[in-house]
């Protein structure tokens, strides 16, 4: 995902911001806002606070940028700030994992379908339910498994980029991704049964 061009562009933008160019900061926000908002959403599993947390991430970035020395890639630094804020938020609100995998049972689907049949097409409802199941499973994963799966499957980071972002060795990245997939597969067991 992070090509050399992006890294170079980040470098130029950050240098401009450090020299006091506010316009460059706006460009940096525009470049990463969608990625960060979705990262926050997938981490905390709650869309209500995404905007506020994303805002706080970029305000912290702005305050800390004068000290940024390019020892690591900008994305890995941005990622750490985002994760720290998400962890604070989870602790603060003690976000409960309220989702349930019962969504997949025919009874529940049928009940929801009846509730919504006048307003939502069945395909949309199925899609919505599927998303709830996947989001629920993600939220039930061990935090380190959720983190690595989001980076790999959602953010499309390579193993090298994940290793740098999480400060792990390449072998550790491989085995953690494998374990995360196994855990996710177990959580989605019912889903796969329905599917087959």
């Amino acid at each position: 995902m992070q090509t050399d061009k992006i890294v170079t562009d980040d470098y130029k933008l950050i240098r401009s911001i450090q020299a006091g160019d506010h316009q460059a900061f706006e460009l940096l926000v525009r470049r990463y806002q969608r990625q960060i908002a979705n990262l926050v959403y997938l981490t905390i599993g709650n869309s209500d606070d995404v905007e506020d947390i994303t805002q706080e991430v970029f305000i912290r970035v702005y305050r800390s940028l004068p000290k940024f020395k390019f020892d690591a890639s900008f994305f890995s630094w941005l990622y750490r700030i985002t994760m720290n804020l998400c962890i604070d938020e989870i602790r603060k609100k003690k976000i409960r994992r309220v989702f349930s995998l019962d969504y997949l049972t025919e009874d529940t689907l049928e009940k929801n379908r009846k509730d919504k049949e006048h307003s939502t097409a069945f395909d949309d409802l199925m899609k919505e339910e599927k998303q709830k199941v996947v989001q629920s499973a993600l939220q039930q994963l061990k935090p380190e498994h959720r983190e690595i799966l989001v980076l790999r499957e959602y953010q499309d980071l390579s193993y090298d980029e994940i290793a740098e972002t999480l400060g792990l060795r390449l072998e550790a990245v491989k085995s953690r991704i494998f374990r995360a997939r196994k855990e996710m597969k177990n959580l989605l067991n019912e889903y796969f049964k329905e599917r087959s």
Binding site: V29, R34, I59, V134, Y159
Partner: protein
Amino acid sequence: MSHKQMQLLISSYIDGEIDAGRKKKVLEHLKTCQECRQFVDEAGEIRKQIKALDEIELPHAFSERIAHLAVKSEEETKDWLGIEPLARNTFIAIATAVVILFFVTDLKKEASPSIMEILNSGQNGDSAVTQVLLHPGELSKNDLLLAVMTK
């Protein structure tokens, strides 16, 4: 190679993070192992479903708002006491040092001598009582008792 080790390789294969030699091994294994083929299929479905999750829509002009807020928040920090951070930190450090110095000096300040201490130093009783009475705010119960007894 154990089944688990093979699945670990398969996981890297799914991500395209495997060399040609190992890829060949994986493909050969997949021809004969139904369980691993299922693992590939399910991992692919997991990826597809995670990618299909709805994206968060940020409001229009989000980046402009954030840039404005960040600059404003930085300026507010700078404007605190109307001085730059370096000067502000120096001011805070000096103020803290003064307060600490005040308390340390206050703790170390010698208390006025009691009548018993003056008597013990060899002075006579009247002189001791007079000296203590010159500091009426610092009289203790014992001082008063001793002053009465001495008189």
